[in-house]
């Protein structure tokens, strides 16, 4: 094996790598927030909605969980175009990621909702809380706190999976890597560097979620134990 590694050739491209990381973070942050909203609404619909809503959510979840993200991305990308609307690749990428992660979120949150005991609802009812108040204070908050670790893992996976949007030429870290390697002909080195950058990003995302959890869940912050 006589291959000479040359990482120096990649040095001039560091601003591009940095930009790629930033774009990947942005893309996944937007998809995470929107996906969480979509997923939570779906979970509530599945738990408490009319039969048609329950059925629709169940179908949505099954379809998404049993088809690849790559195909979903193509479908959203070309589907929007078929409608005659012109959107950027990154917009299509966000839309596809939201549709995808919304389904997974709804399953996780649903497990959280199911873990809230009936007695808690009765207690809230007896205290005269409205339905909305009960949902917010007694059901949703503890449910999300309980499944927070699972949500964290899911959103780290989402960040990694966002690399697939490079396949429709969305601008993010993997797209940058593809361009740099074709410029430099240093493919192996490029993907080693980018692999390490993704590892760094996974770590950053985990830390961010941990800090956010500490900020939002007072009980966890004070007691340090899982709910």
């Amino acid at each position: 094996m006589s291959y000479q590694f040359d990482f120096a050739a990649l040095l001039p491209y560091w601003p591009e790598f940095a930009m790629g990381m930033w774009l990947t973070l942005q893309l996944s942050a937007v998809a995470t927030v929107l996906g969480f909203v979509v997923g939570t609404l779906c979970a509530i619909g599945r738990a408490d909605g009319p039969p048609a809503v329950k059925w629709a959510v169940a179908a949505y979840v099954e379809i998404i969980r049993n088809t690849p993200l790559l195909v979903q991305i193509f479908l959203v990308y070309f589907g929007i175009a078929t409608l005659g609307v012109h959107v950027s690749a990154n917009m299509a990428a966000v839309a596809a990621l939201v549709v995808n992660v919304g389904a997974y979120t709804s399953e996780i949150v649903r497990a959280g909702l199911e873990s809230v005991h009936k007695a808690q609802l009765e207690a809230a009812d007896c205290l005269g809380l409205s339905r909305a108040q009960t949902y917010w204070h007694v059901i949703l908050r503890p449910a999300v706190e309980r499944v927070y670790p699972a949500l964290t893992s899911q959103y780290v996976l989402l960040m990694l999976a966002s690399s697939i949007t490079s396949q429709i030429s969305a601008e993010e870290l993997t797209a940058v890597a593809n361009r740099v390697q074709s410029d430099t002909f240093r493919s192996f080195e490029t993907y080693i560097v980018v692999g390490l950058l993704y590892l760094l990003l996974s770590f950053v995302v985990r830390v961010a979620f941990w800090l956010f959890g500490m900020g939002v869940f007072a009980r966890r912050r004070k007691l340090g134990t899982a709910l």
Binding site: I63, N66, P68, L70, V71, L75, T82, Y191, L199
Partner: protein, 217 residues
Amino acid sequence: MQSFGLIHVEFLAWAALWTVGLSLIAFVGGGLLGFAVALARVSGSLAVRAAAIVYIQIVQGTPLLILLFLIYFGVAVAGFSGVPAILAAGAGLTVYSSGFLAEIWRGCIQSVPKTQWEAAECLALTRWQRMTRVILPQALRMATAPTVGFLVQIVKNTSLASVVGFVELSQAGKLINNSIFEPFTIFVTVALFYFALCFPLSTWSRSLERKLNVSRR
């Protein structure tokens, strides 16, 4: 230019067979490697355990797409040229599956109560005998549902093998689209094929899980 028709569906059906084949390679390869990593992850030696943790963290912290590129170009760097796409894709998916299966199986092994280890130890069984005769048979029961569930992930992720030029379902869809450009119809059909492969596995995994929960009570 012809439009989407039976001939394309037939082409996709053949490609679906390659998807199945690649999934099997990834599952068998990833299963063997993952099993070894899972055992290393619960090993008595700190160094072995640490190595397994690092391996799992790297595999789970890197996108599959990047793993595939790394193996594809790494093979060329190592001096092997003209490696068939199925081997590059199979190796990439094997590494990916091993990282996740190892972690799933570690969880199952560690969920066997510590008292079972102790009881086996007090009967003078060796570490290997404790593992194979007492712990693994119990862990296996818990592992079936999540393992079948992960099989769905493998099938879906074979779609990324298209980036190293392997013609499976997704790549076949892209090829058809290049010639007749009817993306929506084509990819809905591709999605249906994936759904037909994955949905039975998902359902099976769920029913296994339900059975396990019932027997646990």
